[in-house]
């Protein structure tokens, strides 16, 4: 399990589809491009937020929408990228981002077969077998490649993995 103070792993190949304005959805076909952790982490502050899946509900609280709402506060605190990951395809994740009303301020990326969540030590338990392997709901702050905050939800609801908790830790 990765702890605060550890180096964040950079060997998992996350991919994402950069946001393009609505009207070019009909005019263009998207393909995922890499979000290369070995290039995006050094010298930068990146917040990685994991959700079990695109469009999955949280029971009593909002998770990702609050990050979208408060993105300016994150930028003011020196965050370069907020990256939301799930094990769903980059296409599903990109569509989820659009459905939530995000534009290009947040990156919606695919964690292939939960490789990153596995390496961090945070897979979701109690998942129906048909859903496949899933990452847990958590948020990590990585400053210059080193973990400075780690919040994993242990029950339903959003507490330590939420935008407010991360903002406080920044």
């Amino acid at each position: 399990m990765v702890q605060v103070g550890d180096k964040f792993p950079t060997d998992v190949a996350l991919t994402y589809i950069p946001w393009t304005p609505e009207n070019s959805g009909v005019l263009a076909c998207a393909i995922p491009i890499p979000y290369d952790l070995s290039k995006k982490l050094p010298g930068r502050t990146v917040v990685i937020v994991s959700a079990p899946g695109a469009f999955t509900p949280t029971c009593t609280a909002n998770h990702i929408p609050v990050f979208i709402e408060k993105i300016d506060e994150f930028k003011k605190k020196g965050v370069d990228d907020v990256v939301v990951i799930t094990t769903d395809t980059p296409f599903a994740n990109a569509a989820w981002g659009k459905a939530l009303g995000a534009k290009d301020e947040i990156i919606f990326a695919n964690d292939p077969l939960a490789a990153l969540s596995k390496e961090l030590g945070y897979l979701k338990s109690e998942v129906p077998a048909s859903f496949g392997i899933r990452g847990a709901r958590y948020a990590v702050v990585v400053k210059d490649g080193v973990v400075s905050y780690f919040g994993v939800e242990t029950s339903s609801g959003v507490t330590v993995s939420g935008a407010d908790a991360v903002l406080e830790a920044l």
Binding site: I17, T20, L27, A28, C29, A30, I31
Partner: protein
């Protein structure tokens, strides 16, 4: 006409000088097929620009070099440097960009 580029070396030579337009397309992409005849027409109309196309599946390293994430993407080069970009099958934007560069 729009000439297809078949290797990275060919690509580097093609963009090296003058005003060059490169159409990054995929064979399975509808909008790319839609815009192809328009591009062909432009290539005959605007002789000051050299028109090329790159199949992103065949030349994936070249596509990755420019972080092509949507097809078609049109990159405009002037003496080897990217000076403009149009994403999507937007004939009007392509025409506008061409006329600005020549």
């Amino acid at each position: 006409m729009v000439q297809e580029i078949n290797s990275a070396e060919e690509f580097d030579k093609a963009i090296a000088s003058g005003v060059v337009l490169v159409d990054f397309f995929a064979t399975w992409c509808g909008p790319c097929k839609m815009i192809a005849p328009v591009l062909d027409k432009f290539s005959k109309e605007y002789e000051q620009v050299t028109f090329y196309k790159v199949d992103v599946d065949k030349l994936s390293e070249v596509a990755a070099r420019f972080e092509i994430s949507a097809m078609p993407t049109f990159l405009f080069f002037q003496n080897g440097e990217v000076v403009s970009k149009v994403t999507g099958a937007n004939a009007a934007a392509i025409k506008q960009t061409i006329t600005k560069l020549i």
